[in-house]
């Protein structure tokens, strides 16, 4: 493929899409810190310094200072927005490279994606260093199947004479991939639409799961079945099994106390709610 074939994100978002409802600016109402009675919870994850806070500010209208250095967001910030009549609470998680080891910020991010059971998790990635960012994406996809990849910094991709094929990426990852230039607000309307689609179950993700390490296949398979049988409805039985095998004390505790089971229940009531609203929408 040559570079000319890959349309720049701006053009992709251009004329043909102007007519689509995603582009009505009025659809987005920034609620700032006013986030009472939300319908959906959206988490923002990503490597440090990929523009999570910029996306956060665009969506909520808040003005968290964004800094060009990793680790700027230390605590998680929350804000709200309304889109298409539904209210969303947006949680900006600390930037991390992985969810595997247990530094404080990784634990905050991991615990929120797992126990905060967000309806949608947006993973903001730096498209110029995709491979490194995918490590985190793949780990998030192990935990939740309601995820969107926000392929940010597409302007830098172009400036470096690179191209990222977002369709291929979406197909490989099994979740929506939205190219954006967050600081110029490009792609944000498409991102919002994708969030709504996943929240309402209009898009059902089939996330890529990490291939089982050969030495682990049997042990993991058996344990996964057992976990799934003990906690029906759990969206990430294999991941729980993996963490247990790795000796993650937090997860072992959640299994022992039965907290893990709530996770499955919580999500299924949520999706029941989403299905209801969908039915209402269809009825209208």
């Amino acid at each position: 493929m040559t570079a000319e074939q890959t349309a720049p994100p701006k053009a992709a978002a251009g004329s043909a899409c102007e007519a689509c409802p995603a582009h009505h600016a009025a659809n987005l109402i920034r609620l700032g810190v006013n986030m009472a009675n939300w319908d959906f919870v959206v988490a923002l994850a990503g490597n440090p310094n990929t523009g999570k806070t910029t996306v956060f500010n665009h969506l909520t209208g808040l003005r968290q200072h964004t800094g060009n250095w990793p680790g700027k967001t230390v605590v998680r910030a929350e804000g709200g927005f309304a889109y298409g009549g539904d209210r969303y609470k947006l949680v900006d998680l600390p930037g991390t490279y992985s969810l595997l080891s247990t530094s404080d910020d990784e634990e905050v991010a991991r615990d929120f994606i797992l126990f905060g059971s967000p309806d949608v998790t947006i993973v903001v990635v730096d498209a110029t260093v995709l491979e490194r960012n995918l490590n985190l994406v793949l780990q998030v996809l192990e935990i939740t199947d309601r995820a969107i990849v926000c392929l940010n910094l597409m302007d830098e991709v172009q400036r470096r004479g690179m191209a990222v094929d977002e369709r291929r990426l979406a197909r490989d990852l099994g979740v929506p991939v939205v190219p954006t230039v967050a600081r110029k607000n490009e792609g944000i309307p498409e991102l919002l639409q994708a969030v709504a689609d996943v929240a309402f179950g209009r898009i059902v993700c089939k996330p890529h799961r990490i291939s089982s390490p050969p030495g682990l296949k049997d042990a993991l398979g058996g344990l996964t079945d057992e976990v799934a049988a003990a906690f029906p409805g759990l969206p990430n039985a294999r991941w729980v099994a993996l963490r247990l095998l790795e000796g993650d004390p937090r997860i072992a505790e959640a299994v022992r106390s039965g907290e893990i089971a709530d996770l499955g229940r919580h999500l299924s009531t949520r999706s029941a709610f989403a299905t209801n609203s969908l039915a209402q929408e269809a009825g209208q």
Binding site: M1, A3, P48, R63, H65, G67, N68, W69, P70, G71, V74, V75, S103, D104, D105, T128, L130, E131, R132, L134, N135, V137, L138, Q139, E156, R159, R160, G161, M162, A163, V164, E166, R168, L169, D172, R183, H208, I210, S211, S212, P213, P214, G215, L216, A219, G222, L223, E226, V227, A229, A230, L242, L244, L245, E246, G247, A252, V255, R256, G258
Partner: protein
């Protein structure tokens, strides 16, 4: 084991035996397949052309600003330019604001007060105490902040601060502290209280405590105006007029650098004594240089930083203005309260090369360092009994020209030594009350809060004492 097992217990038991039999390479194997998958997917999605000009540009800049020989000089040069712009640029608007707020508006208030028949003590307290303190804080602080903060934020957004952290990392490591302390220190140049919250990026409690205790050595924005003003009057005054701005900027940079040196020395001392331990490793990513969004940066740094800091200063100036006016108008045995304090602490002040006025000002300014200079000037006028400079006890007089300020201070018995020691003491003294409270909230320890508060005061007095003795020995 006759007990009935729940499914959870069964699972955990199974995990226990699997972990036992399957070896210890789970983590490595998992990470390996994670990386393999990520590499494969990324490889399929990304195409590159040969052109990499931009990237090389980044590399070239990085090689320069983080080089062994040029890194530090470039850092100092950058800081000096920022301060020079601030000092040169702030003079004129400061004088204009002072003329407006003090010379034009204050007489209007006074005639208004006379017209509605306010008693002298009330109009004195309100106009000459509270209003004047506010007017002073605004005219002294607003212009330098409105220039300094956007410049500093531009450097930050451009991506320069992580390079500073990179340069300093090795030194922090050798001092037994965490490399990320360079970032929290950089934030301390804005506000110590905010920086102490930001030490949460440091995981190890030991290294975090070191970062918290030493953060006070990063000059915060409440102290920049003091440094800038004193340097401009006393040190810039020594140089020929066309070099004055540059010399003053160099003096301020020296004090800031001294603060950085003290950060290392104290971190080193702490990690060798009460906070022993190994420095932990971390990886610092040098982000790509991004062209800062200049207008947006100016907007957010004016709104988020300048106005918030200014508002805080004004809020603290109100009670301080009242306290100053009351302290200098309540008479006990023919002298005002302020004069009693100044006379009482004067001899001690003289020993450490300061004076009673400065000590009182630092007591009044515990809530906010921003009001140190206004308080000092006002109290100096009061105790030196200058005529014409202010009208009545406890009145902060007009700050419309540097020369007038200089005259007041010289009349109050100030020398180059007093100025030098004030700059040192402003760098090394107790944190403001907001910062102290933040330290307590973050450490949850009265002991460490006390250490963080008292250590710098003691160090400040010792430093000033030594400087004063050496100075007197040679002059």
């Amino acid at each position: 084991m006759m007990q009935e097992h729940t499914p959870s217990e069964k699972i955990l038991e199974r995990v226990g035996s699997l972990r036992w039999t399957a070896g210890h390479d789970f983590h490595d194997e998992l990470v390996e397949s994670l990386y393999t998958d990520a590499a494969r997917i990324a490889d399929r999605a990304v195409t590159r052309k040969g052109e990499r000009g931009r990237f090389d540009m980044d590399r070239t800049i990085d090689r320069l600003v983080t080089s062994r020989w040029l890194g530090f000089p470039l850092m100092l040069l950058m800081l000096t330019i920022v301060f020079w712009l601030t000092i040169e640029g702030a003079n004129y608007p400061s004088a204009m604001l002072a003329t407006l707020l003090v010379d034009t508006i204050r007489p209007l208030f006074h005639s208004g007060a006379t017209a509605i028949g306010l008693p002298w003590w009330l109009s004195g307290l309100l106009i000459d105490g509270i209003y004047l303190a506010m007017a002073w804080v605004i005219s002294v602080m607003l212009p330098p902040m409105a220039i300094f903060f956007p410049l500093f934020t531009l450097l930050e957004d451009f991506g320069y601060l992580p390079r500073v952290a990179f340069n300093l990392d090795g030194l922090f490591r050798r001092a037994g502290a965490h490399g990320k302390q360079a970032l929290t220190m950089a934030m301390g140049f804005g506000c110590n209280a905010a920086a102490i919250v930001s030490t949460r990026v440091i995981d190890s409690p030991r290294e975090r405590l070191i970062a918290i205790i030493t953060n006070n050595f990063a000059l915060c924005n409440g102290r920049w105006p003091t440094q800038i003003l004193v340097a401009t009057i006393f040190i810039g005054g020594l140089a020929p007029a066309h070099l004055a701005g540059l010399v003053s900027a160099a003096a301020v940079v020296s004090v800031a650098v001294l603060g950085i040196v003290l950060t290392f020395v104290v971190s080193w001392a702490l990690s060798r004594t009460v906070l022993k331990g190994e420095a932990s490793a971390f990886s610092l990513e040098l982000p790509p240089y991004r062209p800062p969004q200049i207008l947006r940066t100016i907007y957010t740094s004016v709104i988020d930083r300048t106005l918030i800091v200014l508002w805080r200063a004004v809020v603290f100036a109100i009670p301080a203005g009242a306290v100053i006016w009351l302290a200098s108008n309540i008479q006990v045995a023919d002298l005002s309260l302020a004069e009693h304090f100044i006379n009482f602490t004067g001899p001690f002040g003289a020993v450490v090369g300061l004076n009673g006025v400065i000590l009182l000002a630092y007591v009044i300014a515990i809530p906010a360092n921003e009001i140190v200079i206004p308080t000092i000037l006002m109290l100096t006028v009061l105790t030196a009994r200058l005529s014409g400079a202010g009208d009545g006890a406890g009145v902060m007089f007009e700050p419309d020209s540097l020369e007038a300020n200089a005259e007041v201070l010289r009349a109050g018995g100030w020398t180059l030594l007093t100025a030098l020691n004030l700059m040192l003491f402003s760098l090394v003294h107790n944190p403001c009350s907001t910062t102290i409270y933040t330290i307590y909230r973050e450490t949850k320890s009265a002991k460490w809060t006390t250490v963080a508060s008292l250590l710098p005061v003691v160090m400040g007095f010792v430093m000033c004492f030594v400087v004063a003795q050496v100075w007197r020995l040679f002059s």
